[in-house]
Symmetry: C2
Subunit: 602 residues, 2 copies
Amino acid sequence: MKKVDFSQIKITGGFWRQKQDMVRNVTVNAVYDRFKETGRFDAFKCQKDTPLAPHIFWDSDVAKWIEGVAYLTREKREPQLEAIVDEVVDLIEKNRDTCGYFNSFYLSREQENRFKFRDCHELYCMGHLTEAAVAYYEATGKDKLLRLMCDYADYVERVFKIEGTAGFETPGHEEIELALVRLYECTGEKRYLELSKHFVDKKGCESKELTDWTALTYCQSHKPVREQDTAEGHAVRAVYLYCAMADLALKYNDQSLVVACKRIFESISQKRMYITGGIGSSHEGEAFTVDYDLPNLVAYTESCAALGLSLFAHRMLLLESNAKFAHVVERAMYNGFMSSTSLDGKSFFYTNPLEILPNAITRNTSVTKQTDWLPNPQRSEVFDCSCCPPNIVRYIPSIANMLYTHDDKTVYIHQFMESQAKFSVGEGEIEIEQKTSYPYDGKVEITVRGMDCRVAVRVPEWCDCYKGESNGYMYYPVCKNGTVITLDFKMKPRFVYANTEVLANAGKCAVTYGPLVYCMEGCDNEGHLRNIILDTEGSAEVGFNKELSVPTITLDAYTRKSNGELYSFNKGRLEKTKATLIPYFAFANRGVQEMQVWHLYK
Amino acid sequence: MKKVDFSQIKITGGFWRQKQDMVRNVTVNAVYDRFKETGRFDAFKCQKDTPLAPHIFWDSDVAKWIEGVAYLTREKREPQLEAIVDEVVDLIEKNRDTCGYFNSFYLSREQENRFKFRDCHELYCMGHLTEAAVAYYEATGKDKLLRLMCDYADYVERVFKIEGTAGFETPGHEEIELALVRLYECTGEKRYLELSKHFVDKKGCESKELTDWTALTYCQSHKPVREQDTAEGHAVRAVYLYCAMADLALKYNDQSLVVACKRIFESISQKRMYITGGIGSSHEGEAFTVDYDLPNLVAYTESCAALGLSLFAHRMLLLESNAKFAHVVERAMYNGFMSSTSLDGKSFFYTNPLEILPNAITRNTSVTKQTDWLPNPQRSEVFDCSCCPPNIVRYIPSIANMLYTHDDKTVYIHQFMESQAKFSVGEGEIEIEQKTSYPYDGKVEITVRGMDCRVAVRVPEWCDCYKGESNGYMYYPVCKNGTVITLDFKMKPRFVYANTEVLANAGKCAVTYGPLVYCMEGCDNEGHLRNIILDTEGSAEVGFNKELSVPTITLDAYTRKSNGELYSFNKGRLEKTKATLIPYFAFANRGVQEMQVWHLYK
């Protein structure tokens, strides 16, 4: 299977057009402003004494922002943003070491500690700069950064693969592995692919030690990758590694890697993933924990992890055309990823909880500073570890990457977005137009023309009116002169139940509408959300919230009115009420208040 | 109202006889052994260089143990234990400062920091030594420790009340306040009562500051005590203060203190108390938090706090004969206190959770040391801060303190224990014999003789077959020649529901049997406890667990069998099952496993 690059697809309207416009008009600038004022851009000057001390991962923040600018540029040039990028590139060229090494933190602060500590993010930063270099070259034709990063990659190859002179053997934070695959794809230089394979093969076989507070699972070094069967450790690091494993599995036709990727995918999607597609349930190590451990109030579920999961799941579609992978892409991108960003595009969640209890945040009245960990109940414009905002800047403009894969005869339609695409398939060229109001309406009209072939359309996981083949796709023959496929997946509010092993959700249900997970917020409902009991046999009305500009769901429900005593032998009166829900991605746009995804039901 | 000292009552059989025998035969020695080997006894030698560094609160650990020995001695002398006590007393006499000051930590380690830091427990230790001194004198007639503590109290009066030369104005950890009342009662020296009042009156009016990590609520210094209307801060410190407030309210007939005590009691019993009588819901500050914040899995609910609550609640009965106070004594002593001790009497809980999920304890697989706080799922023989074990040693032998109060005409029977009592009432002397298998059976036969008067028998909160007067007591005339009152409160399994403001228990119920709160443990039930749905309309059978020697309750219930998918539109099958529960106090005697007090219900 082959991928279809987003540059061959134009999002022409609907949900993602609105989000892409938001990134272009608001987010890319908002993130720049915050990064500029926190010193992240000036850090590239590599000055010894700056008022704002650089951090070891700042290069990656800016790199992801550059990658985002590059993607925006594919559709419409952005001279002002490009000027900023060019300035950063000039600074890298000016300040890098003659050997090719570049890291603003180590060059300005700790020359002597270069490549000494595994957890210090140098290769992670290098990986993101490499992705940025490839993207910027492909978007603008400007190759300076690409050349700089090739030099850097050559140096990394020497230090880590040829000479083995670094203080560690594989990166503590994966990213370079998948970046080197992109560098290979862009340059055709096979050494880069082999360097990626070197790092991936070495995982779990390192002889050098970890930091003292992390277990080997933390950075996926507990076993050689081909033996790994569960998703472990820091969730973002993990999915970036799994992306590289899937890439290498494809490039090398490495079946043992394919098998490992599939096993890990099952571990995530069947045992360690929130209904939102969020992953990494613990703040300790920002990490996967044990099977079915998915607490709601203290969910970590970093935005970058949901994003990374969608990247991994989509890559799996290149190894096997099975809808289960695309289901996870859909789940993550509309929920656990999209919740990361405020509706105005200016502020961001690092963590994405599935429940908020304001009282829990202020419960410790006897201490001056609460140390119990709880996710932030509101988004922020920038944070110390501000990896998520620029990841959003690069992800949304390239979201159409998720739409299609193909082989010589069949084009797989994995996702549904109002769009026009034109790309080569085998010897021919195909045009695909999608008209849809997805994710708010299940009607999709797909027009295909340009060559005789087949299209395979994914039946969404939540749809119960179509049945695909065993892999979850419906196959349609299409003809050169144009074929129109008109579908209606028929969205409706549905109740979802977790596996009873997920103890956090015992006795509870969630509500979905098409691909969207819904949640309750305090301001739409009377009383405490935890006391609302949904009537799963009652009526469900779809409405619209003008303030948030999203469809709402109003359900029959009950609340219990207790008699005021702290403990009573009396159950209390069950009263009929209505519960109103909004899409999960839209929560926390109206102040700090109660929120929950999992509800009691009757 | 007047109190009836336990020394006038003999527990003749049943639940508390068994527990008192356990303390005498096992616990008092087990605690001694652990304290001896951890250096707590040798610390009284006040040597500069000891292999085990003393801790600032070690004196209080030994003091409470001495108090326990004294209480055991009231019933039967214990020469070996007394010899240990006498040795400690000699060491205090030998090593104390000429001014009367004694603290093994400060005398051996930090002479220069005496009475300098508010949170350093010197007055707390002094208070416990004073209680021990009074108890030991009353039990044995030996007055050496009493004299030493009088000297110490005189010194404290000078430093804190007359000269004001200490580094702080009121203790960071209350205890001395109630101890000084006892010292006054024992010696008749009113200055000690006035010193207690001085400390209590000064609370919340101090000009000197707290430690940097605690709020003023932590040690109840947020307001003058007469203005306090909620239970705040460190729960043990709080209830010890409230005990002293109740004592002083009585001694001084201080109505503003009475009103404050009643307000605080309502705050605890109606908004901040677990169903077990446990208090202090947060490990941060070991403290009360906000109303209705009573999480089960992370419940702190220190053993000493439940014990202290029962002491406070019983004191309230001296201010007003209202059953609501005795209800709380009963709730705490059979549940949140009694759970502190293993059935073999050798190991102890510091914290008493209302739910245990073994998976939650080991969930953080990516770090080498989990920092998320969770209560210990198993009791330990000794801990660094081992305040609870000796508190148990002093509480159980004196449990009969909770039975009666009286005025000149009426004896109030608050609690039910197989026992014989003989004490003065007004001009006469009364004998009361209780025959009962309480808390396992509701039948109580009360024989009263010796004088014509009235007895008032509390109707337990859980009993629905008797109705008392508005204060919750049934009044019976009794005659000199003997009156027999035969009651059957008719215990049966009952479902309890929390106020809907207690969000932790939304959609859940607890099960009680008489005064006992019941819980489920994993080994008695199939599957995860959180998935068991109790049928509140179903049958309930009372059985017996031989291993634990406790009555069990078996209830009709359901479990849901999901289809194996992580998320499904299918609710899963509801299957009939049975749920078996044991008394909460008996949990964690069969290894680490799931436990819960609050259950889903249908």
